[in-house]
Symmetry: C2
Subunit: 198 residues, 2 copies
DNA sequence: CGTTGAGTTCATCAGTTGATGAGTTTTTCG
DNA sequence: CGAAAAACTCATCAACTGATGAACTCAACG
């Protein structure tokens, strides 16, 4: 039935090199400031080819974010162990992701979410549905406190990522991961399982 | 000596309305995405007039940021009281500033710092020289730990501001200030004066 | 009045952006 | 080979950006 002639859609890697360049550009400059021309440039490709593959800048961004780190694998590592260590393990896994290649996608998402409403929505939904919900539903905290505890954790984690990878405030920007685990772990632990009132 | 003729430089408020519009625009969209045309539009003014008053977009930004909240007055309010309450007082004062008119300048600075290197430098220097240094030098902590403690505080405070005013993650975005003071205060207290190792 | 100078507007420039559509090259298969 | 389809390029559009400089308006002063 279907026509089966012509050049095979299988790519010699051009598509991937565009995605790499896009991730780097979005991470460095944010969604709005990153230009398709610059992305095509560092990928060694005509700008129109980017549109040919991805249609629009929005779709390119989504494809570039589509996700180098799988929360489904990460969350169990946070939960594996005693309940009192979940805070430290969360910070440790979190820092590991941001220091990995997947981190550039995170920086891109973070940078973009700040001046672009639809990427902010993306970040919000990723945080709530992919990360916080999964962790918190395994910790049998009182359900009414769940959203507050979750978003408090988010304030500390996003603040940490902002200072370490975006604003780059020293010494947090270059600190040894385990130093930060020891310092920030207890904070996350208290937000998750501790008392929140004075 | 000086010529003293012509229309008086005293303004019918046009300059201020431009600054107000600029603060709002920078807060809502960040430095790059905010356009002089849009600012002039909401101020009810010709775009060229903005250049006439402020020269360039950079100078307009600096003028708009120039500063609705004075750290010199705020820091004493954080320090006034017992050493064990400094964390809660810091969060309380911090939230107060962000919920005031001065907060829009803060949001503008924060939004802009993310996709613009020179505004990031501005934010960094403001955090370190105007806020953290002043607070920490009054708390006689061990000098070697001072930078780390300071930047840890910054991660939590900036993360809080990000989630509450930029990403607007609920319920932190709409939470009662005192709820956040009770929840986050102990974190800041520990970063300032507590133990940082496991 | 008439000059002065600040307040204000208009027209316009040069640069960059995302996007489009027609056209060319290259690979694969019958 | 020769047709088909994908990979890729070129020229170009319309929109928007920050910025400039000449011009017009109007209040204050001598």
């Amino acid at each position: 039935m279907t026509r089966r002639t012509g050049r095979r859609p299988g790519n010699p890697g051009t598509r991937e090199s565009i995605l790499d360049a896009a991730r780097a550009a979005f991470a460095e400059r944010g969604f709005d400031a990153a230009s398709i021309r610059a992305i095509a440039g560092t990928a060694g490709v005509d700008p129109a080819l980017v549109h040919h593959y991805f249609g629009s800048k929005d779709q390119l961004f989504l494809a570039a974010m589509n996700f180098p780190a799988d929360p489904g694998q990460l969350v169990p590592r946070v939960l594996a162990g005693d309940r009192d260590g979940v805070g430290e393990r969360m910070v440790r896994v979190f820092l590991g992701v941001w220091d990995s290649p997947a981190g550039s996608a995170g920086v891109a998402l973070l940078r973009s979410a700040v001046s672009n409403e639809w990427t902010a929505r993306l970040l919000r939904e990723f945080i709530t549905t992919q990360v916080l919900r999964r962790v918190l539903e395994q910790l049998d905290v009182e359900p009414a406190q769940l959203p507050l505890r979750g978003s408090l954790v988010a304030t500390q984690m996003i603040g940490l990522a902002m200072m370490r990878h975006v604003v780059r405030l020293e010494p947090v920007a270059s600190a040894d991961p385990e130093t930060l685990v020891a310092a920030v772990g207890p904070t996350v632990q208290r937000y998750l399982t501790g008392s929140l009132s004075a």
